[in-house]
Amino acid sequence: MSYSNLKRVDLIFDKECNPKEIIKNTWAKSNDQIINELLESGLKGRGGAGFPTALKWKYTAEQPEPDKYIICNADEGEPGTFKDREILFKVPQKVFGGMVVGAKVIGAKEGFIYLRGEYRFLLPELEAQLEIFHASLKDLKIDFRIKIIMGSGAYICGEESALFESMEGHRGEPRNKPPYPTISGFRSKPTVINNVETLVYAFMICMHGARKFKDLGTADSRGSKVFSISGDTPKAGIYELELGMTVEQFVEEFGDGDTKAVQVGGASGFCVPRKKFKETIIGFEGVPTGGSMMLFNSSRSMFNVLHNYLEFFEEESCGQCTPCRVGCQQLILGIEAVKKGERHANYLEHLQKLAQTMKITAKCGLGQSVANSFFSIVENFKEEMIY
């Protein structure tokens, strides 16, 4: 496949890789060297929030507590995201590799993969791959084990503290922060929790060095990233691309010639309308994304798009905090009422203020991010909301 504007990268799915060799070589380095390499690379978490991976590892490494954990967050649930599934399916050894390196740096003896309930079909193969991985660790005399824990299909359990609650056998509800996982995570011990993709990139940086990664992307968004592309596109699928492209470049490559909007980052992300394609960079300087890219052409009703997203949040909110639980219900009923003419169009402004409150008062990222799609769709497609 060729890309006119976009640079395809092949770090993650590159088959030329011997995980055992990388682990062996990495073990020859000091923890400081590994952290500095990661820091130098500019790798930010690929789950969406974009926290520098090196710092997360460093802070956890600094904790005096002897019991620590590393957790791979494989609870991929954002609508339109299916990249982690592909990574776990195609290159699981690289994921495990990232975990063992992280474990070395922070001093963990145990790691966990929290696997999305809907990905249970991956389990037998992952278990088989883990056996191979554990055998190579044994050869290398490394004392570290990974266990896979299945989620039960709640989107909120992708939120790190809800994920810990779920792993501990409780209801998946986010915790108050601080304390952050680096100090008190799984079983209240210092914990590194990384997205599947982040761990693979960390491992690739160990293999290739920071340079290769750093040379890709922009100042704010280093490296490459795996995108899952869906919607009105002839090329739906998984692609690893260099960061820093504009939406326009992206649409040129993946659109169907009639793209009116692109939802970057799934339901919790931002909707970019055609008039902003040119100026919008996909990355931390523009619109950040966990990887979901949805294209909509002119046949789509943006009211329905927003309605779908809100329905998703209304159901997937854990329900514990007021702004998220009730706010989602109000947003959905509110846009319905406006559409049906039961409320005046200016009720949308009231809802936008509510969305603003949700963004700053909800307990966790889920409730806070509902406002992203709401704002960007209501602002850019107001007439579709009313008529």
Binding site: S317, C321, L333, T361
Partner: protein
């Protein structure tokens, strides 16, 4: 010494201990931040978000109840941003809440209502969500009514049921818009592990969890000329009732309460303290008998330690959770039920009233007493021994309904007979009180001398520690009890069912060798009961406790066996403790219940 953290709240510098929250730090400056899901007795939840504040350098508004202070922090509690967010949040809660305030049992006592008033929310700005939900009220329990349409999902009840009581009858179910506080398989409260303790009711900020009230039934009985209405009041009521009638916590209102009850129209105003003393007689002799059977007769079937049976919440807890220990419970009925059984037998005979015309009412600090009075075992008088149980709160409502100016009422005495009480009976209202009262009597029975403590105050069993142990060495016994010479009576007191669990687990695991256990379901004992005035917290419970012990030390008679009416009833009616009649009327049995 802990480290001091310097921060500024609304521009005012303050230094507080490490791990203090913004909410606590603001309180130390007398800055009031409104809260809803927060409760002094419970762990931090950060659920409702009403207490959000602005924090310099933070994109979001953190919940002040859950945010620890940090050095150099600058907090603003009263900006436009905070005010707008707070109003939105209250508005959202109202939209999800069945706001039929005028007909709500909690009208005027609802924290959400107060917040709405404080923030002058006059127009509902969001769409009413209540009609979109298929709410059903749970009215099956004789003690507690659960109305989900008024629930604001703050989870105070859930935390109470789990943390304080280790019962977990209430938990959170579902997610998103369907998230609710529920029970096992959504069964009615009556059919789950609920102990009816009412601690959830005490902490529910709205009308979602309330006691089942029997006000209409009681008024109807009072107004019925064919009925003779007898009322008894529990020891813990007199030290808390005032709180619902405009007085400070910890004011003893015994005399005014008696006057009020007479003015309400009860035919006879009597004191549960009388049967509390009787309980001591029966339970004390039961303990001594068990000890004799175990120590002298070497009877292996005797169950020790013996546990008190006054608290119906505790009884239901053990029936659900430790049924293999039911034999360890004293067979004594609670003072309320002893009273009920005697009201329709002894009292009826002496006053020459047809027992079918007697309506027996009790005023209790407790919601579980409502359930207890409904137990099928509690009809030994041939009638329902106690017809209706009212909480302290319900009595306060009746007093207000009758238009009485409570604080201006003169004081009067309980009617006689079954109205005489002792200090020993009064302290039943506080944790450790039954133990102390029992020891005052049992020690004297066995040795012929008063307990060797300063002024009868057995301080080791007093206090608010969750589990308290005390050992009493018995010396100088009278001949009849000389098998106890030199014995060390090991006792334990626990309050709150989480502490009950600790004690029961240590008994089960053989880690302790108690002879006598006093267990009360509620924190602080009956003074912290589920039927007591709301709010409750450690400070309020402490004041009520102090009032209880003040009442005791002010009384002329402070030992149950010296209660003249108790002496009289044995002479005239019961013959002797654990006698045939006592067994028939004053003792009961228990049964195993489901565990979910």
């Amino acid at each position: 010494m802990s480290k001091k953290i310097n921060l500024k709240i609304d521009g005012i510098p303050v230094a507080v201990d490490e791990r203090t929250t913004i909410l606590q730090a603001a309180k130390s400056l007398n800055i009031h931040i409104p809260t809803l899901c927060y409760h002094d007795d419970l762990c931090i939840a950060g659920n409702c978000r009403v207490c959000v504040v602005e924090m310099k350098g933070s994109r979001t508004l953190p919940a002040s109840c859950a945010m620890p202070v940090s050095e150099g922090m600058e907090v603003m509690t009263n900006t436009l941003k905070v005010r707008t967010a707070r109003k939105h949040i209250i508005d959202l809660l109202l939209s999800e809440h069945n706001a039929n305030c005028t007909t709500c049992y909690k009208n005027g006592k609802c924290e959400l209502q107060a917040l709405a008033a404080e923030n002058k929310i006059s127009v509902a700005s969001f769409i009413d969500l209540v009609p979109h939900k298929n709410y059903q009220m749970d009215t099956y329990s004789p003690s507690i009514i659960k109305d989900d349409s008024k629930c604001i999902r703050c989870q105070r009840c859930v935390r109470t049921c789990e943390e304080l009581q280790h019962v977990s009858a209430l938990s959170v179910a579902y997610k998103g818009d369907k998230m609710k506080v529920s029970t096992f398989f959504e069964n009615p409260m009556f059919e789950v592990v609920c102990t009816n303790c009412g601690q959830c009711v005490n902490r529910c900020p709205t009308g979602a969890l309330v006691e089942r009230n029997y006000l209409d039934e009681v008024w109807a009985a009072i107004y019925n000329p064919d009925k003779h209405v007898v009322v008894q009041t529990a020891p813990a009521v007199r030290v808390a009732l005032g709180e619902d009638l405009g007085l400070e916590s910890g004011v003893i209102v015994t005399g005014k309460m008696v006057t009020a009850l007479k003015r309400l129209g009860f035919d006879s105003v009597l004191d549960t303290d009388f049967t509390a003393d009787l309980t001591i007689m029966e339970e004390g002799f039961e303990l001594l008998t068990r000890l004799k059977k175990a120590l002298v007769d070497k009877d292996p079937s005797v169950k020790l330690p013996m546990a008190t049976s006054c608290s119906p919440g505790w009884i239901k807890f053990i029936e659900h959770t430790y049924p293999e220990y039911l034999g360890n419970l004293s067979t004594c009925k609670s003072p309320q039920q002893m009273f009920g059984a005697l009201a329709k037998t002894y009292y009826a005979q002496k006053r020459n009233i047809d027992p079918s015309k007697i309506v027996s009412i009790s005023i209790m600090p407790c919601t579980a007493k409502k359930f207890e009075s409904d137990r099928p075992e509690m009809r030994s008088s041939g009638y329902k021994d106690v017809d209706y149980v009212l909480t302290t709160r319900e009595l306060a409502i009746m007093i207000k309904q009758a238009g009485l100016d409570f604080s201006a009422l003169e004081e009067s005495h309980y009617d006689s007979f079954m109205g005489a009480s002792t200090g020993a009976a009064v302290i039943f209202g506080a944790t450790g009180g039954v133990m102390e009262a029992a020891l005052r009597t049992a020690y004297e029975v066995v040795t012929g001398r008063e307990v060797p403590f300063n002024g009868l105050n057995i301080t080791p069993v007093r206090g608010m520690e969750g589990v308290r142990e005390a050992t009493i060495k018995i010396e100088g016994t009278v001949p009849e009890w000389n098998f106890l010479e030199g014995a060390e009576l090991k006792t334990v007191v626990a309050h709150g069912l989480t502490n009950a669990k600790k004690v029961m687990d240590s008994v089960r695991d053989g880690k302790s060798s108690y002879h006598f256990m006093e267990i009360m379901a509620c924190p602080g004992g009956c003074i912290g009961g589920g039927g007591q005035p709301i709010p409750t917290n450690a400070e309020i419970r402490k004041k009520r406790t102090e009032a209880i012990f003040a009442e005791d030390s002010g009384m002329k008679i402070r030992k149950s066996h010296e209660n003249p009416e108790v002496i009289a009833i044995y002479k005239e009616f019961l013959e002797k403790p654990l006698g045939h009649k006592s067994h028939e009327l004053l003792h009961t049995h228990y049964k195993e219940r489901i565990r979910h």
